[in-house]
Each structure stands twice: as structure tokens, then as C-alpha cells.
Amino acid sequence: MSILDVQNIKKSFGNTEVLKGVGFALEKGEVLAIIGSSGSGKTTLLRCLNFLETPDGGKIIVNGEVLFDSEDRKAHNEAEIRKKRLHFGLVFQSFNLFPQYTVLKNVMLAVELLSKERPDYKENRAEIRGEIEASARAILERVGLSDKTKAYPCQLSGGQQQRVAIARALALKPEILCFDEPTSALDPELTGEVLKVIRNLKSSDSTMIVVTHEMEFARSVADKVIFMADGKVEEAGTAEEVFDRPKSERTRAFFSKKA
């Protein structure tokens, strides 16, 4: 069974149809790269998966559990959506770190707030907090920032900030981690350190969806590649299939412009 099954997602903003029925499936531990020109609906797709937008049509199924079904309108209250979101993590193009908190606190905050809902929170408060901090430190070590725990976001480079954002998303242990053009706001020399972190996550068996313009990266890290155009999946397949033997004329045209 696929860990993620996305069926026929549609989304319009006013009269503009941004997603015209997008679907794909993903197995556990796979990395999916979504490529395509700006305005093709890549970001909107990720935002739909993370419930930042409500699709107008389609289904989202995670591990056999139907998280969203446009036919079924009743499961739309805030508390429900909040729980469903936790299946996914999202790393933004512009990081969106919390500026008033240290790096460590940025990584811990959401986990701490969530732990307050545990029935044993009151009795084991200190212990739970200790565990959360230890795991936050471990995650920061994984992204190579164990020496920056006390720094504030404004004291970090863009690449470091994005790595904190990745750590912050990882701290909640999402089943599927999404990246929305994680390196587009970075200088070329900072791009590498972020891509390296994402690549390392792949070897640790995380299921990931990466929207990216870094073609070389997509080719080397992705198990599956989707090329989107005009709100539709124009071409899908393994990295070799899409990059080396594209079937669609539009995909070929896209690559030739890139090169």
C-alpha cells in the first residue's frame, strides 16, 4: 500500500484554475521531485497537501486513511485539520522561522505545545521537556547546527536558517516531509549545504516531496519525478525516464530552455 495516494486534486482561485486534477502515489521512503515552470501549480499542490489550501476536488489518502475527500464535507473543523496536518511537514521557500526564539526553541516549540495534550503531561513535565530538548538537539546535530542552538534566526545565514526550518519540521516526525523550493531564496553558494541535508534525509528513509528548480539535484535524489504544466501532470516517471527519455513535447521544451 502506498504511504501517500493523491487523486484528482483540483483547485481554483476565483476564475483561475490552478490545479486541474493532479494525482500521484508515493511509497514509503521514496523521494518525489516536482518540477515545472513557475505558475504550473507546484506550490499550490504542496499547500493543498498541508491543508493551507482546501482543494475544490479530489482525495488525499495517507497510509490508507482518507484525510481529505471533497465529497465528504463534514470533516472540516479546525481541530480535525490540525491533526491531519501532522502527517505532513512543510519547509517553506522563505524559511518562516520564528524570529523571537533561539534556534533550539524554534525546533522545540511545536513539539512542546503538542506534548501538553498528552494525558501524562502534568506528572512527567520535566521528563517530557527533557526528552523533547534532547531530540531537538539530536536533530540539529543531523542538520549540522549543533553549535548554533543559542543563536537567533537573524544571526544565521540563509542556508543555516533553512536548515533550522528543516530541523523544525523534522522534530514533529512527519510521515511525509514537503519542501517548497527550499533553495530558491538562497545564494548559489548556500544552496549546496541545504541540498546536502535533504540528500542525507533520503538515506535515513524519510518520505519526501521536493518542489525544486535544481534539476541536477532532482535527478540525483528523486526516485520519482513529476513534471507539471498548466495545473496538470504533464509527465511522470523515474528520474531517468523523465530526464533522459521525456515523452512529452512540453517536457523536452522545458529542459531545453533550462539547459
Binding site: N50, E78, R85, P99, Q100, L109, A110, L113
Partner: protein, 223 residues
């Protein structure tokens, strides 16, 4: 009349200004937040009601509002103002003044709060959302501190204006510092009138230092 006597009498008057100042802050700071939520509400009747209210309060002179609160309840509804607040004896005139000041400043504060809240980038809310936070957690844990930092300078401005505005209460015969000073002029003593400036300067000097301190405290981060 000796310098010392004048100083003490003016100080007594300035206590009235201080009372208006403290009470206005005490009530207008939270009331302003309620108005902010009203004016940002997605329930349109409430939103427009609040916005109209803020427009009227900010669009008319505080002096006029003092007259309205002073005279209208008595003339139209035969309501008289109480003579105490939290067990502190105050004149009914002072009570009227406090009502006018609280309403007026709440309206201004609410707009400062609104500006602060709306200046926080969408991405901050979205980051909170995808991390599974509730609306309440996003407001209190993510947004609020950033809003506070951003509104400190305009709030400092407004609060310093409040100190000076307290003198307006004299138009409904609250015997604040300028009222007292004018009584000296009637006796042929002009210098106390100018001397009152020292009180305001000293008080606002302390406030300026205080706000500078808070700004510095919050400057440990940017953004």
C-alpha cells in the same frame, strides 16, 4: 507666595493628571485590544460597527468628547456620575474625564494594535499552522511577541501624548495642574504657568527612558 508652596500646590494638581494617566492606561490598553478584535472580525456587522465607532472617536476632538461625557448623561438621561472608583474618592467630573479619556485612547490604541498585527507576515501564521498549532497558540506563542516589539515606538508616542492631553480635563473643571497654575495668574503670579512645563518634561523624560529601555530589551532579535 514662596517657590516651595507653589511647587507643592502644582504637584497636587499634577496628581490629578497622573490619576487620569494611570487610569486611562489601565482601562484603554485592554479595551483597545477588544476594539482591535472587533475591527478585524470576519463578522461584518461587528467589524463595521467597530470601525464606525473608532472613526467617530478619532474624528472628533477629545475636548468635545469630554463635554459630551460631562453633560449628555445628566441632561438627557438624568444619570449622574459616581463619586468613587475602586473605593478611591474622585469627583464626578473626574469620573467623566476618565470615561472620555479611556474611550478616546482605546480607539487610538486599537488602531496601533491592528497595524502591528497586520504587519506580521502571513508566513508566520502558516509556519504555525503546518506545525500543528492552534489559532490561539499561533497568536500567543508566535505573533504576540513580534507585535509587541513592532508597536513599542508608536505606543510610546501615543502615551507621551496622553501625558500632555490630561490637561484637557480642565475644560470640565477638573483641577489639574494647568487649572491650578491659572489660579495663580488670577492672583497676579504668572511664572507658575510656565513652571508647569517642568512637570510634564520630567514625567515624559522618565517615560522616554522607560520606552528606550523596553526597546533595547527587545532588540535581541530582528524581524
Amino acid at each position: 507666595m514662596s517657590f516651595q508652596t507653589v511647587t507643592m500646590m502644582l504637584l497636587e494638581g499634577f496628581a490629578e493628571n497622573g490619576l487620569i494617566f494611570i487610569m486611562t492606561l489601565l482601562f484603554a490598553l485592554p479595551l483597545g485590544l477588544i476594539l482591535t478584535f472587533g475591527s478585524m472580525s470576519s463578522f461584518l456587522p461587528l467589524k463595521w460597527l467597530t470601525k464606525t465607532f473608532v472613526w467617530i472617536i478619532r474624528g472628533t476632538p477629545l475636548m468635545l468628547q469630554l463635554f459630551v461625557v460631562m453633560y449628555v448623561p445628566g441632561l438627557l438621561f438624568d444619570i449622574s456620575m459616581p463619586g468613587s472608583l475602586f473605593g478611591i474618592r474622585i469627583s464626578p467630573r473626574m469620573f467623566s474625564a476618565l470615561i472620555a479619556f479611556v474611550i478616546n485612547y482605546a480607539a487610538y490604541f486599537s488602531e496601533i494594535y491592528r497595524g502591528g498585527i497586520e504587519s506580521i507576515p502571513r508566513g508566520q501564521y502558516e509556519a504555525g499552522q503546518v506545525l500543528g498549532m492552534t489559532k490561539r497558540q499561533i497568536f500567543f506563542k508566535v505573533v504576540l511577541m513580534q507585535v509587541v516589539k513592532r508597536i513599542i515606538p508608536p505606543m510610546g508616542n501615543e502615551i507621551i501624548t496622553l501625558v500632555k492631553d490630561t490637561s484637557l480635563a480642565r475644560v470640565i473643571a477638573v483641577q489639574e495642574i494647568l487649572w491650578i497654575a491659572e489660579e495663580f495668574t488670577a492672583m497676579g503670579l504668572v511664572w507658575p504657568l510656565f513652571y508647569t512645563g517642568v512637570y510634564f518634561l520630567a514625567f515624559n523624560g522618565i517615560l522616554t527612558l522607560l520606552f528606550g529601555y523596553i526597546e533595547k530589551k527587545l532588540s535581541y532579535y530582528r524581524g
